[in-house]
Symmetry: C2
Subunit: 192 residues, 2 copies
DNA sequence: GATTCGATCCTAGCATCGCTAGACAATCGA
DNA sequence: TCGATTGTCTAGCGATGCTAGGATCGAATC
């Protein structure tokens, strides 16, 4: 069965190439430039090949989103674990979130702005997305405050970060004052 | 000059019709359904007529956004002025914002999610957008807290509301817990 | 009242989009 | 070696935003 295994490996490899190329192209020129024709040309295959891996362009966006969610979860945990003390940890978490969004705008869009056909906030939610939320939850529970459900607190904190990230990136908030905004947010939301 | 005046009136009326129809169609079937052909058919003119009023579809979205911003500003002021006491007023403001977003999702998207070609956060920003921000600022200044710039506080508060609005609307946050989220947000962010 | 002329509007079409059918070639099992 | 299966490509469909160029209509002039 070695032949079949090799084929499966090559197929999986090509799928990774598609996702990585879509992401690269999106980061370079925006998601509008990620057409099936452009993408096909970059991976040096014809258009229909894309559709033997993904049912639609939407699914490709979804695949980029999942990859990004895994990376974001790791980045959040790394930033949080490098800080000690609740206040410092939460601030580091917030900065890491905003930095990820700023450095990977196309990936962030795939995760939270575009329709990647992914399920959110229910049992069908893919693991990487749950895990990214968990990375926030783990580090925020200790500052939720008495009588406040950690998940609820995390949702609010996340929403605030998401608002800052998207409004800043689309030019609706001037980027200069990002740091004082984070300071204010953390000071007010986190208990101690 | 009566003839010319009449023509200008009719032209302005048709422009209002285009914007209102685009908005209506977007609310009914989503912005994806707002194609220039669909829109042209609904106003009972041919496609090119749209381009004698607007340079692009983007500008039509922008026009819907401006109309929406004016409405939102009015809705925010009405809600705030109907409440007395800082805490109640801020909570009413937050609920009014989220309710506007929930009841006018297409308009909200035009304002804050789609590209309507509008300038934000600088001197070229159209008046209705400035005014919507001002409506927030007016009612939040009193709870910004000592030593915190009211504009900065408003930005953070707005970002949090925007995050809640968009994440809820795209199914990324379950809609049931909206009220406790607002309570938590207001309790923590607003000083007194 | 007929005629000219400019403004207004529509038909038709372009390039591009996501996606798919059907032909062709390469590879496999017998 | 041959037939069948798998894989890939060419070509094309309907729909998109937008535009060129001709037709039509109404207002002003003689």
């Amino acid at each position: 069965m070695s032949v079949q295994e090799r084929k499966e490996r090559e197929r999986a490899e090509r799928e990774r190439l598609i996702v990585a190329t879509a992401r690269e192209l999106a980061e370079q020129q925006g998601w509008d430039a990620v057409t099936t024709r452009q993408l096909a040309e970059r991976i040096e295959y014809s258009q229909p090949v894309l559709y033997s891996h993904f049912r639609s362009k939407r699914e490709i966006i979804g695949a980029v989103a999942l990859k990004g969610a895994a990376e974001m979860a790791a980045a959040l945990r790394a930033a949080a674990s490098a800080a000690d003390g609740p206040r410092t940890r939460v601030a580091a978490l917030a900065r890491a979130y905003l930095e990820f969004a700023a450095r990977n705008p196309a990936v962030y869009d795939a995760m939270f702005q575009l329709d990647g056909g992914l399920a959110f906030a229910n049992e069908d939610t893919p693991q990487p997305l749950k895990d990214a939320f968990a990375a926030l939850l783990e580090n925020l529970s200790e500052v939720a405050g008495d009588g406040v459900h950690p998940a609820l607190f995390t949702e609010v904190f996340w929403a605030a970060l998401h608002g800052l990230a998207t409004l800043t990136r689309t030019g609706r908030l001037p980027p200069e004052d990002t740091e004082p905004r984070v300071e204010l947010l953390v000071d007010r939301l986190a208990m101690i």
